[in-house]
Amino acid sequence: MTTPARLPTRQLIAPDVPRFDTSGLAPATRDALAELLLTLADDEFVAGFRDSEWTGIAPMLEEDVAFSSIAQDEIGHARVFYEMRAQLTGEEADRTAYGRQPHEYRHARLLDHPRNDWAYTITRRWLYDTADAVRLEALAGSSFAPLAEVVAKIRREERYHLLHLDTWLGRLAGHPGPPRDKVADALETVLPDAASVFAPLPAEDRLLADAILAAPMADLAARWRTQANTRLNELDLRQIPDAAPPADGRRRDEAAVAEGFRSLWDEFTSVYRSEEGVEW
């Protein structure tokens, strides 16, 4: 009697994630690509988890459903990037997502800030999504075809997320009194970290040389600032300063762990850590 072969549940790559052959990649390119995918994945994962904190407590039932759905989309994007990275490194996506120590995460500092109130959440998320849109645009023409392919799909969803956030930013900023004041306060707190989405990558030169990334992060930051400032100006809000330093000049892998992230990490890894190595 033969026992049916058991599928390796944790190594499965979902069907919407492109499979690719890594044998043709130079080791330096492979490592640089893995690092890029990790920053993309961690950004979406942390942003999605932050959004999910609004489930059940959003200002209106409809918004609760909409925002929870956006949270799921973001975590879905993270999954795609983690599973692509898994093909390069051989590390399971679940382990990457839940099994690292806080200092090993590569998300932008902008996402360290706690969710705070609704206006704060909208303001921070708007800054992140406008930056993410510029970054995804630069990756849409990547020489690494599987990345260009998933980025094209992800941009279709992100377009809607940005519309949603922009609608809210306009509503809040256009309403004199507490709504507008809260947006202004939030901007004051998060603006210094906003450009951290474009913090230089450790192997950025390699990504540029291989045309995996279309333009240096610093150029993308400038592009984003121009676009975002146009909208902020329309709303008569504080501008992103030209000299906004990407994560105070530090690379993503050198940035210190913020207290705001440590508590978030405690929560999103709590189930995974409760029984490490177990198959769910």
Partner: protein, 139 residues
């Protein structure tokens, strides 16, 4: 009967009339003066299908109502088109005096004529002619 999908929280109770002035609701938590309206959502499942009433959403304006309609009635890719209509724009006609006149109107219905025998004769004739035409064609 329209098929209801999703869970619009402001569904009208069965048989209730849509209020002529629409429903404006104050949501205390959004702050004083915050108002929301009810928007009715219609969806098309695939190209060529009729638009069917899906349900409704509560939102402060048409822009957010459209976002919410998308999340409630198309988040699982179950629609190819949505119509979002402020309930205040819908004219409700449910006056029985206009819709259910008291006098006998059975003569307006396509029933009441005895067709069975005539139909039988017509069918036989049609079959005979068809056979004749076929025979002519064979020759």
């Amino acid at each position: 009967m329209t098929r209801q999908t999703g869970t619009g929280p402001a569904d009208l109770p069965k048989g209730a009339a849509a209020p002529a002035e629409g429903r404006r609701e104050a949501i205390g938590r959004l702050g004083e003066g915050a108002r929301t309206d009810v928007f009715e959502v219609f969806r098309q499942e695939k190209d060529g299908d009729a638009m069917r009433h899906a349900g409704n959403v509560v939102a402060p304006d048409i822009e957010l109502a459209t976002h919410y309609a998308r999340e409630f009635y198309s988040r699982r890719q179950e629609s190819v088109r949505l119509w979002v209509v402020p309930r205040v724009q819908i004219t409700d006609l449910s006056d029985p005096g206009l819709l259910q006149p008291p006098l006998d109107r059975s003569f307006k219905k396509p029933g009441g004529y005895v067709m069975r025998d005539k139909l039988e004769v017509a069918k036989k004739r049609a079959a005979k002619e068809k056979a004749k035409a076929k025979g002519a064609g064979d020759r």
